[in-house]
């Protein structure tokens, strides 16, 4: 009955792991050839795969896990999806309804453990609840501000027999996502931005989730307003467009931060305005007279920055409603854009590349030259993530996937697997540091088993690079517990898992290694031994304002 319901919801792929409390579901899996099940090696991997799948194709990712440890292993993956508003359905087995609360074998309070990292959750104790719950869960996961929904199903319910019922019409009185745009507000917002002397638009993940890139593009061009994106908003606006400010936030580009800090009107679309965007909140965008905030989640209004104009609406609808009201653009706009161009010249992205070590940026630049817009880049968390965000010209949505809000190390490999399953037509490159990679490396088996054409790029500096950089710069230069010198030889590890791998120590070896990776159909791993002292720049020192960003040293 569960599997029929999933088919009815249009599910094609499930990432899962069987166990005692979900055996009845697995017993019938073979009767549903339309449902492709991918056996993971750890439940956290399943959650990240479903997450990468959802981010790559927009459909909710589906996860199966058993009770107790199986379900609890999902928690980090649920949190990752929740923080980044990714639609996901987790179906966990629970002990028999008559055993709940008796500390039965592999019993745990999964609802209790996951309530704060799911959009909603259900405990199903009777078969009659099941059709409604599954239908509601998909609706809640995919509408409004998307997010993960967990369904914990008691084992006796999984075994119960009932005629399959098509669920009645949805009736969820406590869930009414608002997509409606207040037209007065939209007009006010459009006018405020167009008539501003120094406007800036920042676009977040919400723009991608509502497929509002075209509307954003039209609006920005008409209003002649520069557009930056958050880390998760990358792709919402083409990076090489003259109006692009590239990435904002405490590791954003210099010209972006200059623009934000000098703007007089700031429009924030589909974003949470979190601490990684604002740095020191009290000094964020200090010259702004009018904050405009567009988000589908009303609780984002004033959570961190109190807007003067707020539009609680779907980003696409809101931008579409705003564009006709742009009207006449302020006469001083040319001067403002020229100023931004000057900042772009003055504060370019740069890195050292003459100290005899392989630089991570060189690796990414080579990758970009090969793939351009044909590849999806899935990054892990840390320096590798920021390098992958900044050193690649993302010119369209859906090309960059990473864990922004939760910052989950170990995300990249399983998420890349999910992305490849979702988009077999796209090349998928997984970029990770050695630290994050070893956290979920067991999922290499899945890439091999499914023969997924994923290129795994390990930017190996034998240390937890971002932590090391913070220790060097902000914690008195005391390096503490950041050495990753004892890790597997990744080429041998790849061999042990059954995929080819190659090690690269110098710039000259990069091209041939990339050639080999591209020629191989199936997973391929490259262990890039990069400069152990390479840092991420620009960076705003912890606790400081966006004005205080540091740039890469000239030498």
């Amino acid at each position: 009955m569960i599997l029929e319901a999933l088919e009815r919801e249009g599910v094609e792929v499930i990432f899962g792991y069987p166990g005692g409390a979900n055996l009845p579901i697995y017993q019938h899996l073979h009767e549903h050839p339309k449902l492709k099940h991918i056996l993971v090696r750890h439940e956290q991997g399943a959650a990240h795969m479903a997450d990468g799948y959802a981010r790559a194709c927009g459909k909710p990712g589906v996860v199966f896990a058993t009770s107790g440890p199986g379900a609890l292993n999902l928690v980090t993956g649920l949190c990752t999806a929740y923080m980044d508003s990714v639609p996901m359905i987790a179906i966990t087995g629970q002990v028999n309804s008559t055993q709940v609360g008796r500390d039965a074998f592999q019993e745990s309070d999964v609802i209790g453990a996951t309530s704060s990292v799911t959009k909603h959750s259900y405990l199903v104790t009777h078969i009659d609840q099941l059709p409604r719950v599954i239908h509601e869960a998909f609706h809640i996961a995919t509408t409004g501000r998307p997010g993960p929904v967990l369904i914990d199903i008691c084992k006796d319910v999984q075994q119960a027999n009932a005629e399959p019922v098509t669920p009645e019409r949805l009736d969820i009185p406590g869930y009414q996502p608002n997509g409606h745009v207040n037209l007065d507000m939209a007009r006010t917002a459009a006018h405020a931005l167009a008539s501003a002397e120094r406007p800036v638009i920042l676009a977040g993940h919400g723009v991608l989730l509502s497929h509002a890139e075209q509307e954003l593009f039209k609006f920005a061009e008409k209003a002649a307003a520069p557009v930056g994106t958050t880390l998760l908003g990358i792709g919402a606006f083409p990076v090489n467009h003259p109006l692009s400010l590239h990435m904002t936030g405490f590791m954003g580009t210099g010209w972006n931060l200059k623009a934000v800090q000098n703007a007089d009107v700031l429009m924030m679309v589909g974003m949470r305005v979190d601490d990684r965007v604002t740095a020191k909140l009290a000094d964020f965008a200090p010259n702004v007279k009018t904050f405009i905030h567009v988000d589908i989640d009303g609780s984002e209004m004033g959570k961190n920055v109190r807007p003067h104009i707020e539009l609680v609406a779907d980003a696409r609808n809101a931008l579409e409603a705003m564009t006709p009201h742009v009207g006449e653009v302020d006469a001083g706009r040319g001067k403002w854009l020229a100023q931004i161009d000057a900042w772009r010249e003055e504060h370019p992205l740069k890195y050292t590349h003459s100290n005899g070590h392989l630089q991570p940026q060189d690796v990414l630049i080579d990758m970009y030259r090969r793939c351009r817009s044909e590849a999806i880049v899935v990054a892990d968390v840390g320096q590798n993530q920021i390098w992958a965000a900044l050193w690649w010209n993302y010119d369209r949505p859906g090309l960059f996937i990473n864990s922004g809000g939760a910052g989950t190390m170990g995300f990249a490999l399983p998420a890349a697997i999910g992305a490849k399953v979702a988009r077999p037509d796209k090349a998928v490159w997984c970029v990770a540091g050695e630290g994050g990679f070893v956290m979920t490396a067991q999922e290499l088996s899945v890439a091999v088993e499914q023969n997924l054409d994923i290129k795994i790029v390990i930017l190996n500096n034998f240390s937890l690079g971002m932590v090391r950089q913070f220790q060097d710069d902000f914690y008195g230069g005391v390096r503490s517990q950041v050495d990753m010198t004892v890790i597997p030889d990744f080429v041998k590890l790849a061999d042990a898992y059954g995929l080819p791998g190659i090690r690269v120590d110098t710039l000259e070896q990069v091209g041939p290694a990339m050639d080999a990776a591209e020629k191989t159909k199936g997973p391929f791993l490259i262990d890039f031994r990069i400069d152990p002292e390479a840092n991420v720049y620009p960076i705003v020192p912890l606790g400081k304002s966006l004005n205080d960003f540091w740039e890469a040293p000239d030498k």
């Binding site: 309530s115 704060s116 009185p173 909140l281 904050f291 004033g302 959570k303 104009i309």
Partner: protein, 180 residues
């Protein structure tokens, strides 16, 4: 043309600063919310969990069935902590279990709290004069109840304390808008 909202914009969540830039008294950080919720095994823990997670604090909570089957009415008194006060309502509104929520802080409402107390039999007359009702009398003492606005209940309890109360149980407030 819609009027722009007044006030300096940021930082929204700085403690002691209102959305309009002024100092906020402690009292104003406490919100009284009337909430209609879906009954369910997880409803109370979802609400209390959210309040904890967002850095708010529960001052009082009263729950009882509503006239609509499958739904309960909660009256919550919540301290917004370091967040902007309106965040309490907005965050609770996100929960699927929450059907309706009304912030009635400072509104014209009836607010009633209940206290049940066990006192020595000799004390009862004065309390009855204040409006207490005798529930039962026995060898161990007399049990009385008193309902009223929070302040009246507080005064009543102060009086009990002066007389040597044996035991006391007090509810949080339940509120309802006054009819026009």
């Amino acid at each position: 043309m819609t009027q722009l909202q007044a006030g300096p914009p940021h930082p929204a969540a700085s403690p002691g600063t209102s959305p309009h830039g002024g100092e906020v008294t402690k009292q104003a950080r406490v919100r009284v919310l009337s909430v209609l919720v879906e009954d369910g095994s997880n409803t109370l823990s979802k609400i209390s969990g959210l309040i904890r997670r967002r850095g708010f604090h529960v001052r009082s909570i009263s729950v009882g069935p509503s006239p609509q089957p499958g739904r309960s009415r909660m009256t919550l008194t919540v301290d917004a902590g370091h967040a902007e006060t309106d965040q309490v309502r907005k965050q609770l509104e996100r929960l699927v279990e929450v059907i309706e929520i009304e912030d009635v802080t400072g509104e014209d409402v009836h607010s009633r709290e209940l206290v049940v107390a066990k006192v020595k039999a000799s004390q009862v007359a004065g309390l009855v004069e204040r409006g207490a009702k005798v529930l039962n009398t026995g060898a161990e003492g007399t049990t009385v109840e008193f309902a009223g606005e929070g302040k009246d209940v507080g005064d009543f309890i102060d009086e009990l304390m002066r007389h040597g109360v044996l035991d006391v149980a007090r509810s949080g407030p339940v509120v309802m808008r006054r009819t026009a």
